[in-house]
Symmetry: C2
Subunit: 460 residues, 2 copies
């Protein structure tokens, strides 16, 4: 990049917050997706919202593509720099929790605040911020909003969308746009924060975010139900919902996942099982939680669970949850490349989706382990492979195509929580139609006429 | 309107669904706002989504302003035709409930479905659709989404925004745009349904809407708490939230409201009280509801409630709720014109807002009764006047200006649920800033380049 332009960025944020050396830029060339890296031209780390706005303005005025980055934990390439002349803008210094308001049940944060740090701060004030994406110990609120991050609690507590009350963001002119409110109800102006949600960095740059907080549950009960037939596990999920119980966690892991996790953790998992469900019910009254737990246990048995381990305290629950937490790390040990997919279906279609994934894994001779959020239909078929093996990776890409087809045929959607990024942009028309893609492009170009905000992502 | 053009509309929807006579057009010249009517050029009532799309396309191609109308119950003028050449498109025939899916907890409806009809159909299937705007027995789901309608259950159950999963809508080309999903989690494409939410008919025309359903509460308990000091009532609201109880209803009515309601209903309301709270707690377990109710009663007493009437059954609860249901009708009897305001503040600011409204009513020598959703800060100061009295109405308009100022100074917002419409468009910049208004206009004109979708509303 032109040395004078670099000086202008330095003038805004200071020389210690501008990274021009190649060895630094390399560190920001990739995210958590299995895609080719792209080294950016420059990396800039503003320290204040004002510096952020000026950085955006300077980059945009000079026609530089912009990719905003928090932790870079995105799984679809949304944070891979668009091109060699991209400026990566880091939000990590914008990590202030500006306000936690207990009376009015909201908080205001800068986009670089780490999700679990925020959740803990809220918890320390006696409140609850439920969205818990798998990346929460590193991912940022800004990233969560840009992707409408989900997590395990989606069925009962909702996802980031359900907690976004408003925001300030910078538009392509570096002007600050204000939307939403600190009030529960607000219909003033357009729902611009709704529009920015899940926009994957393509419509503007977040400056600060208003989030809803809720009272915390006071009690919970966790269990693991073990099945000889994954269909019985799926049936249990349906039965629990039909009984109008919304567990705060309702996760499924298949045999392949269990085998790999046990090989990694030696925790005594039932590796001969076809599948397990991890279920947690919670609520504000201990007796109600007990009643729900009893009902869930009854339903598990009725639907064919071989046995159920009930955690008698938090320590036992954590032991059970180890399985879920270790699913991805355990699978990732198997082969050099781990492709984590995210196609989502209505929960009643989980049996069909699981069957489809198994059929696809056989058809393409691939190892695929499936775990995920059975309660909300957001499964994660995980393909274990080596992308350096081009023949195998071609089979992987074809398998992914078929996984998407299967999800769409079951009235599902391409992505439940990981985003479209680079990886899924080409399927957008298949799920919607040409008019929707064109409309989305029109929207995008209206708000980003030079096509600089994360070009090549989301809608192409 | 040109007779040949009318024939083209007739060719789409049939002659019985096109209203050109003035006496018919007059009926669609106004909504529930206290604003000047505008007789449209034509009124068209499509019967199918396909007819709707063709109607939109024909109107847009011919440069005709379009105002979409469900019940016309909007309180801010959002459904008053923009101009004399406007085509009003009615959604009333698009009233099919297309799907209620119990397994996957969603429904799909056409925009003209009446909210309470939908809620009852959902209830008959053992599920719950909570948003209950005051207009629910006449307003439509399409109108609710266009305004992000609220209601009494907002604090605990959320508002329309929290139930909108996706939609199909027609853009200015009459093309069908598809967004969202039948799944709990979806980040595919832009959050276009979020963008359309609260857009007040200015960005497109809804064709069908996907709504989330939840399990119904199994038990509830209702009560009326009576206060000698409205500050004690406000303090009670704060105490209930601080105790982490979210009642499904938490309404306030002031002395003036009580006086008018009693004069209307003779129900034995405490007209010597300064204010009352109507509180309902609900949940899935009877004992938990009992415990919450006991806690609430204790807090009411602690905060100075003179006494509390607890409803022992549904009939008694309905009797108590009569007061709330009759607030607006009772106030509306007082004078020829009833101006129902909607400025909303964080709930901790309710005492200050109530004090401000009282100060304003004295300053401008106006009668203002205040009732509303104390739990979420969405109060409805209601000004009783006669708009034919120009001197008085000038004082009313100045008072409204000050009410908005007061709300904004308390970190509130112009509108909690009634929308911006015509009535509040000029205050948009005050709450946000010039850049936000310009950004919003840019968005609007990108999606509606001829400025035909409900011109003069929302953002001007």
């Amino acid at each position: 990049m032109n040395v004078n332009l670099i000086k202008e960025f330095v003038a805004i944020v200071g020389k210690d917050q501008v990274f021009a050396d190649e060895v630094d830029r390399q560190a920001y060339s990739y995210d958590a997706a299995v895609l080719m890296p792209q080294v950016p031209a420059l990396v800039v780390m503003p320290e204040t919202q004002e510096q952020l706005g000026k950085t955006v303005k300077l980059a945009y005025e000079n026609g530089l593509p912009i990719t905003v980055r928090g932790a870079g934990s995105n799984l679809s390439g949304a944070v891979i720099p668009s091109s060699a002349d991209t400026v990566v803008i880091l939000t990590n210094r914008l990590n202030r929790i500006l306000e936690i308001n207990e009376e009015d049940l909201y908080a205001v944060v800068e986009p670089g605040v780490i999700t679990s740090v925020f959740a803990e701060a809220v918890s320390a004030r006696g409140l609850f911020y439920p969205p818990d994406p798998g990346s929460q110990t590193i991912s940022t609120i800004g990233g969560n909003v840009a992707l409408n991050a989900g997590g395990l609690r989606g069925l009962k507590y909702g996802v980031t969308k359900d907690y976004l009350m408003g925001m300030d963001f910078f538009d392509c002119n570096g002007d600050l746009i204000k939307t939403g409110s600190r009030t529960v109800k607000c219909v003033t102006g357009y729902n611009l924060s709704g529009m920015m949600l899940a926009s994957e960095g393509t419509l503007g740059v977040f400056s600060q975010i208003i989030l809803k907080l809720v009272p915390p549950p006071k009690d919970s009960k966790a269990m693991m139900a073990v099945y000889d037939d994954i269909a019985d596990a799926s049936e249990t999920v349906a039965a629990i919902i039909a009984a109008h119980i919304l567990p705060c966690t309702l996760e499924i892991l298949d045999k392949k996942c269990l085998t790999y996790i046990e090989a990694y953790t030696h925790a005594g998992l039932p590796v001969d099982a076809a599948a397990i469900l991890l279920i947690e019910v919670d609520g504000s009254h201990a007796q109600a939680v007990e009643e729900d737990a009893d009902k869930v246990i009854e339903l598990c048995k009725k639907c064919g669970a071989k046995y159920i381990n009930i955690a008698k305290d938090a320590a036992e629950k954590n032991k059970l949850w180890e399985a879920r937490r270790n699913a991805l790390p355990a699978l990732a040990r198997a082969r050099p490349t781990t492709v984590l997919e995210d196609a989502t279906v209505p929960r009643s279609k989980i049996p069909a989706m699981v069957a489809a994934v198994n059929r696809i894994s056989e058809k393409y001779s691939l190892e695929i382990g499936t775990f995920g959020h059975a309660g909300d239909g957001n499964l994660h078929p995980t393909i274990l492979c080596d992308r350096r093996n081009k023949e195998e990776f071609k089979r992987v890409e074809d398998a992914i195509d078929e996984i998407f087809d299967a999800a769409l045929n079951l009235q599902g959607t391409l992505s439940g929580e990981h985003g479209i990024g680079i990886a899924k942009a080409k399927w957008m028309e298949k799920e919607t139609n040409r008019a929707t893609v064109n409309f989305s492009k029109k929207l995008r170009l209206a708000l980003d006429p030079k096509y600089l905000f994360n070009a090549g992502k989301k809608i192409v």
